[in-house]
């Protein structure tokens, strides 16, 4: 039996086409991927991300505990800030990539991938059991308690305050959601519940992610839908979420990231703070940063008219020395660029932008070229 989010009935009423994703029954699209993709690039889109996991790490030693597990420096987070970070195994392989938010001096909210909740919680529990100060930190899986929506697009700031009007508590740093800047979040009141609104996302556009108790998530969804309608807001499925993140070159667990791939290889070494003290995987990551890696994630685009690249297609070097050098991990037809784009792993000597490569599509090789990441960057 697939799991359903608190918004499942809302999706059905909107005529969503539902598919299986990481054990969840989720909308892949409502109208079409292309349509929803363009809505997010030009106006606004709302996504159900309730399948994602929430893990609260609390206590006087929470910060030290998390800094020993995660790659980024959590000590740099002020109250009301979040950061992208990764959790690695001893080999430097990625257990998950996540967002960590500093809720209070002693509480951190981790937002993790739906498909990795069990692995993450089991890993954190194991590490907690081995942590000397374990009596002063605890790890709680709140994934079933919270739902979440993402509202993304250049017009979102024009209407978000109509849907989320009320700041909560005395610690509020922003009077309005629309005054949050990138990676900031704040607490808001909604129907007697406290909700989190973060200026984060996974589309390459400006926007917000709203994390709230499951009981109010449908009311929040409805309120945002109503407030955003005059601005061109559309409900968007996982199909557009994937094309949007691929254009923005954000990694997706299970594609760019897995337990046998390190953040350095994946090209997210910026989020690995080697200078903060020891953490799981540090020695491997330090050595890779110093000595280099055997494979690197690159972005590429097809140069001739061809079928779009897809995950697992083989990557070949260009003539005259044609050989199998790697594999595509993400690929699609880019709705913004109207051509085939992808991400894949190749040896570092092929990772320089401008390097010609070939993608094997159904037994035939089509020319492609390595390009600078990302494919799409929002206009400043």
């Amino acid at each position: 039996m697939l799991k359903r989010t608190p918004l499942f009935e809302a999706h059905q009423r909107l005529g969503a086409r539902l598919v299986e994703f990481g054990g969840w029954e989720m909308p892949v699209h409502y109208t079409s991927i292309m349509d929803e993709h363009h809505a997010v690039r030009t106006a606004a889109g709302i996504f159900d991300i309730s399948h994602m996991g929430e893990v609260m790490v609390s206590g006087a030693e929470a910060s030290n505990f998390l800094n020993a597990q995660l790659t980024n420096n959590i000590g740099k987070l002020d109250l009301g800030q979040g950061q992208y970070t990764l959790m690695c195994n001893e080999r430097g392989g990625v257990i998950d990539d996540l967002y960590a938010y500093r809720i209070s001096s002693f509480d951190f909210l981790l937002v993790v991938n739906a498909s990795r909740i069990e692995e993450d919680v089991a890993w954190l529990q194991k590490r907690h059991d081995a942590f000397p100060e374990r009596g002063r930190v605890d790890v709680r899986n709140l994934s079933d308690i919270f739902g979440a929506v993402a509202v993304q697009g250049p017009r979102v700031r024009e209407f978000i305050d109509l849907a989320i009007p009320r700041p909560a508590g005395s610690e509020a740093i922003a009077a309005r959601a629309s005054s949050l800047r990138k990676n900031e979040f704040d607490l808001f009141g909604f129907a007697d519940e406290t909700i989190y609104v973060a200026c984060t996302g996974y589309t390459g556009e400006d926007g917000f992610e709203v994390i709230a108790p499951a009981a109010v998530i449908e009311a929040i969804w409805n309120q945002i839908m109503e407030a955003g309608q005059p601005y061109g807001l559309k409900p968007c499925g996982l199909g557009a979420r994937d094309t949007l993140r691929t254009e923005a070159c954000y990694p997706l667990y299970g594609h760019e990231l897995d337990e046998n791939t390190t953040p350095i290889e994946a090209g997210v070494g910026f989020f690995v703070a080697l200078d903060k003290g020891d953490f799981v995987g540090r020695s491997v990551l330090a050595e890779q940063k110093a000595k280099g890696v055997a494979k690197r994630a690159v972005a590429f685009k097809m140069t001739d008219k061809s079928a779009p690249p897809r995950p697992h297609y083989p990557i070949w070097s260009a003539a005259p020395d044609e050989r199998h050098i790697g594999e595509v991990v993400s690929g699609t037809s880019s709705p913004t660029l109207n051509l085939g784009i992808g991400l894949g792993y190749v040896p570092p000597e092929f990772a320089k932008p401008g390097t010609p490569i070939q993608i094997e599509i159904r037994g035939r090789r089509s020319p492609a070229v390595v390009v600078q990441k990302p494919f799409y960057k929002k206009p400043v």
């Binding site: 699209h29 991927i33 292309m34 199909g239 994937d242 094309t243 079928a307 779009p308 037809s333 159904r362």
Partner: protein, 128 residues
């Protein structure tokens, strides 16, 4: 979502349609299929002159999300392919039974098409 199932065509369970005009037949994918796929971005057609058997994968249609094989519902020789859908794959979405056709087959067995689904049976299959 309701979809068109013209009465004068025959259908394969795998969502191709056939318009028989003996000795040739024209093949495409159904309105239901294009609605399921949404935004078609690429079409790959067989070479003219290729001999195909009924049920053989001989074309590929790609939406933003996935690549799907297209099976010839009838046996014979590919005599003509629709270059217009290769140039403009969106024709499959906008006019699946007209300008969005895929290829023509010179039938090697004219009785084969009669064994395909009627519009009524295909309509039942897709729950329309």
């Amino acid at each position: 979502m309701s979809s068109q199932v013209p009465a004068d065509l025959r259908y394969a369970k795998s969502h191709e349609w056939v318009r028989v005009s003996a000795p040739t037949a024209t093949v495409g994918i159904t309105d239901h299929a294009q609605q399921e796929l949404t935004d078609i971005v690429f079409v790959e057609l067989p070479a003219e002159g290729r001999k195909v058997k009924a049920g053989e994968a001989c074309a590929v249609v790609e939406s933003v999300k996935t690549a799907s094989d297209i099976y010839s519902p009838v046996s014979g020789e590919i005599t003509l392919v629709n270059d217009a859908v290769v140039e403009n794959p969106a024709l499959v979405n906008s006019d699946p039974y007209g300008a969005g056709w895929f290829f023509q087959v010179k039938l090697s067995n004219e009785t084969e098409a009669a064994a395909l689904l009627s519009s009524v049976d295909y309509g039942k299959q897709i729950g329309g």
